[in-house]
Amino acid sequence: MNDTSPGAQHVVSRLMRESLMDKALIAGTESTVRAILPTLNVVQIGGLSIMDRGHSAVLPLLDEIVANQGEHTQVVGVGPGVRARHILSVGLDLGLPTGALATLAAKSSAQNAYMVSCLLANHGFVYLEAPFIVQLLPAMLAAARGAVFNGIPPYDLWEHPPAVGKIPPHGSDAGSYLVGEVFGARSIILVKDVDGLYDADPKTNPGAKFIPEIGAAELIRMQLPTLPIEPVVLELLTRAKLAKSIRIVNGLVPGNLTRALAGEPVGTLIHA
């Protein structure tokens, strides 16, 4: 509600005294956004798909990250994997709310991110918690060779209750996308154990058709029963200002990440 009554002590600004819930006022703020780190590439390492497989999947991928870091600056997000599934199971059984489940699950991806940072330490990568991403990421990228962060966003107790069920909707795919969007990253690459997007689950349906490129809005309309990424990422993409696409690649295939960083059409591109 608009406040024109005396009493409030205002700072003069374009939004002074205005209701920030007013539709016309909100529409009036539409304008260009500057990319803060336009050369950055966000690489998200899947939890269940890569980390939980251990060294046979993780180490070749990290070698590929290191080999590309000279040419393409990468920050690495990491997902939680099976330990988050386990704590979701116990937490749901105890009747805990979505915000509590999100806080618990985020510790599992923090563990994975910390392990990745240890494996990359020798190559000058550092692990940054969310407050340090806010304050130090540009400085760290100038001083260190790269950074690793917790893929799950710091929503914690403030995670949104989903429309159906209680599983926290913002996982590591969403967190990594949002890091890419806020910094205006050059690319966001989600490294998983599938070649990309299919119109059905290729693990259970051999006739599933591969989709090399698709719009987020179209993918939402298709209402596929299961997706290789968190559905909330599709909604985030439809509202993108800077990061207008994500690419899903199979990290079990050597060279895929390198090709994706080089801008080649590997895996599936989902665009805004």
């Binding site: 009493g7 749901l92 805990l96």
Partner: protein
């Protein structure tokens, strides 16, 4: 293949969770049937408005503080603060500089934080502590010992705030942050203290014919698709998905007694309720 934990220890749902995809609609649906434990069912979340209360200084904040103190023996309260006019200034400046939504959220959080600090200075002599989100594990202790704690109202999304559909103002601000605190703890009440008696058919500061709405469902309010609202739109959308919070209440902090009445469960101001929730009435 990934190694799953010992399945014998898991519930039937647990077995599906460790092996299936979390984006699978059937698995999401299955989690619906789990119990809902209210973590702090006796706590009241009270949001003190930024522009509506804090920016007015002593004339508005003083009586609200007195009322909070008078209620300490009767009602346990988590007091969240709004941002207000300095946030409006820093948002306009940051938008002009081309900065993204996540940066605006970091900036707005600092303003809500300032207001929370000021409110704490006014309540410090009553033993009321200020807690950052990282300190929320201590919250039950402070509530049991002193009856209230203060926090800044913004959700801790920082650079991870999502873009709105339109425009460049962070869509999830202090109304949303306080609502989500109430929801996650399964709070008794969610009360917003602003500078109006609640919701009107039009802005009462601009339109003399505006009439007061004492009670309305969130479904009806969303269907009306008003150009302006008493609360962040995100709160209304989240109310539809909330498991614990079935209604939220708006009171006028400039009128002594309204906050107390709301804490006592009286239908003062405006109540927005979820008609689809169990026990809701359209």
């Amino acid at each position: 293949m990934p190694q799953a934990p010992d399945n014998a220890m898991l519930t039937e749902l647990g077995k599906r969770l460790v092996s299936g995809s979390l984006s699978d609609a059937a698995i999401q649906k299955a989690t619906e049937a789990t119990p809902s434990h209210a973590i702090l069912p006796w706590v009241n979340v009270v949001k003190i408005g930024g522009q509506s209360i804090m920016d007015r200084g002593r004339s508005a904040v003083g009586p609200v503080v007195d009322e909070i103190v008078a209620n300490l023996p009767h009602h346990k309260m988590i007091l969240g603060t709004g941002a207000g006019t300095r946030a409006r200034h820093v948002y306009s400046l940051a938008i002009d500089l081309g900065l993204p939504i996540g940066v605006l959220t970091v900036l707005g959080t600092a303003v809500a934080w300032q207001n929370a600090q000021m409110l704490q200075y006014m309540l410090a002599q009553h033993g009321i502590a200020f807690l950052e989100p990282e300190g929320f594990a201590s919250l039950p202790h402070y509530l049991m010992e002193r009856g209230a704690v203060i926090c800044q109202g913004m959700p801790p999304y920082k650079l991870w705030e999502a873009n709105p559909e339109v425009g460049r103002i962070p869509p999830q601000r202090t109304d949303t942050g306080c609502f989500l605190i109430a929801e996650v703890f399964g709070a008794r009440r969610m009360i917003y203290v602003k500078d109006e008696d609640g919701l009107y058919t039009a802005d009462p500061k601009k339109d003399r014919n505006a009439t007061h709405i004492p009670r309305i469902s969130v479904q009806e309010l969303l269907a009306r698709d008003l150009d302006d609202l008493v609360v962040e739109r995100a709160v209304l959308e989240m109310m539809l998905n909330a498991r614990h919070i079935r209604e939220i209440q708006f009171v006028n902090g400039l009128k002594p007694g309204q906050l107390t009445a709301a804490l006592d469960g009286e239908p003062v101001g405006t109540i927005i309720f979820n008609a689809a929730a169990p026990g809701g009435t359209a």
